[in-house]
Each structure stands twice: as structure tokens, then as C-alpha cells.
């Protein structure tokens, strides 16, 4: 099918590098690995550039390939027995100016402790502002499964947040009392 839109590789990199990098970084928790994944994703895009039909198609394609690549990386790391999130919790490679507000950073750290499918669904929902149907198409999963992951992930995250907040209040009181 003929289409007017001509993809420009460099322009696509400029437009989507932060999206691809953020997805990979939040899924793997390792900035170095996320950068490698992002490079691999864009090189794959370069090889398939002729098949990309529109800017929307490019965005969808990049999200799907980025999520697949991060899932592969997580699987490989799990096989090797490496806990990626240790690095992120230590703030590995994150510049001070890039760190978010304390609450945001806590939420992100808590998100990191969720199972990968829940994390993937939540990241696509709240980072990319996608609907469950779009998330399902991106992850190649049934919509019902995605909805369940979203609900369960949010529930887990809320529970963790409440616990952390209680812990925070208790610690503050004990510090004040002393």
C-alpha cells in the first residue's frame, strides 16, 4: 500500500528517545542497560524503516519493541540471578538533578518492587497515558489480563505506599520524641 509519509530516522530518534529510554529504564532499573536497549530498539527500527507507515505506527512499533526487548533483558538477567533493582535503589547512574520529588522517587522505587507484568501495565498506563486496549495491543496480551494487571498493580502499590507512609510518620514521631 502506498503512503505519503516518509520516515526520517534521526527525527524519529529525536522524538522518541526519551520515551524508549524511560520505558526501558523503568522496566529494568538499570540506566546503562536501558541505554543499550534503546540503541538496539532504534537500530531495529532502522532495519524496518521501510515498513513504518505513519508517525502513530512508529510510536506503537517503538513501544512494542521496547517492551519486548526489556522483557527479554529481564528474563536473561533472571536466568543469571542478578537483581537489577538493587542498582536503581542505590541511585546507580542517576544524576542528582534528574531525581524526582521525594514522594515521586518513593513511588517509583515501590513500583520497581512490583511483578514485571504489573509494572509494565502501570508504566504504559501512567507514563504513556495509554488505555487498557492500547496496552493490550502493545504487550500482545488480552485486554482482560491487562485490566487485571492494572487493578492488581495499583492495589499493591497503594498498600505499599500506605505502609511506607505509616513507617515514615512513626519514624518522624520517634525522632520528635527523642
Amino acid at each position: 500500500m502506498a503512503h505519503d509519509w516518509q520516515p526520517d530516522f534521526e527525527q524519529l530518534v529525536d522524538e522518541h528517545q526519551s520515551m524508549v529510554f524511560s520505558l526501558a529504564a523503568r522496566m529494568t532499573g538499570d540506566r546503562g542497560l536501558a541505554e543499550e536497549i534503546a540503541q538496539d530498539v532504534f537500530l531495529e527500527l532502522d532495519r524496518h524503516l521501510g515498513k513504518i507507515e505513519s508517525p502513530e505506527h512508529a510510536r506503537f512499533w517503538l513501544r512494542r519493541v521496547a517492551m519486548n526487548r526489556t522483557a527479554d533483558a529481564l528474563r536473561r538477567r533472571r536466568v543469571r540471578g542478578v537483581d537489577l533493582w538493587v542498582e536503581m535503589n542505590d541511585g546507580h547512574g542517576v544524576a542528582a538533578e534528574q531525581k524526582e520529588s521525594p514522594l515521586g522517587a518513593r513511588l517509583e522505587a515501590m513500583l520497581a518492587t512490583l511483578p514485571a507484568p504489573h509494572r509494565a501495565a502501570l508504566i504504559l498506563r501512567y507514563q504513556e497515558d495509554m488505555m487498557p486496549e492500547e496496552i493490550a495491543a502493545t504487550l500482545g496480551a488480552p485486554v482482560a489480563t491487562v485490566k487485571s494487571h492494572l487493578q492488581r498493580g495499583l492495589k499493591l502499590l497503594r498498600a505499599k505506599a500506605e505502609n511506607q507512609l505509616r513507617e515514615f510518620v512513626r519514624t518522624s514521631k520517634s525522632v520528635e520524641g527523642a
Binding site: 534521526e10 541505554e35 532504534f42 534528574q98 522517587a105
Partner: protein, 105 residues
């Protein structure tokens, strides 16, 4: 969407990609392109070498065939010549025998 989800959305804003990402990516891309181009060139070189080799083998085979045919033809001509000589000798002998037979009578 409640406050918690709003806070989560804010926490999950896209992070800027490292400034080195694009540079490294373009370097890898250029390297891959160069490797692919070199690979294609090697492939063409191999193809050209194969064509030359096939031509040489085919030419040698054709030359060998022509040479064999030429030798066969030369041998045939020699046989004909030998037969002609033998024929002439026999005719001569036959004529002499006839002469002697007539002299005897």
C-alpha cells in the same frame, strides 16, 4: 482518577534520555552500515571471482574438447593417407604381378 493516580502519573513522567544516547546510536548505525557495505562488496568480489573461475574452467574444457577434435581429425587424415599409400603400393604390386604373369605365358 484519584490523587494517588495523579501522583503516580507525575512520578512516571518521561525521563530525558542521556545526551550520549543519540551520538552512540548514530556511531553504531554508521559502523553497521559500513560493515554491511563491506559485506556486500565482499559478496560481489566472491561472485566476480566465481564467474571468472567458471569462465576459466569452461574455457579450458572447451579448448580441451576442440584440441581433442583437432587431434582426432589429424589422426583420421593420417589413416586416410596411410590407406592411400597402401592402396597405391598394392595397385603397383598387382600391376607387377600381372606383368610377370603375362611374361611367363
Amino acid at each position: 482518577m484519584d490523587d494517588f493516580e495523579r501522583e503516580l502519573r507525575q512520578a512516571l513522567e518521561r525521563r530525558p534520555a542521556p545526551p550520549s544516547l543519540k551520538r552512540k546510536l548514530m556511531e553504531r548505525r554508521n559502523r553497521l552500515t559500513a560493515e554491511r557495505r563491506q559485506g556486500r562488496m565482499v559478496w560481489w568480489q566472491r561472485l566476480a571471482a566465481s564467474v571468472v573461475l567458471c569462465g576459466a574452467v569452461g574455457g579450458a574444457f572447451a579448448w580441451h574438447n576442440a584440441e581433442e577434435r583437432r587431434k582426432g581429425e589429424a589422426a583420421r587424415q593420417q589413416v586416410f593417407t596411410a590407406l592411400r599409400i597402401a592402396n597405391r603400393a598394392l595397385s603397383r604390386m598387382n600391376a607387377q604381378l600381372n606383368e610377370r604373369a603375362q611374361d611367363g605365358q
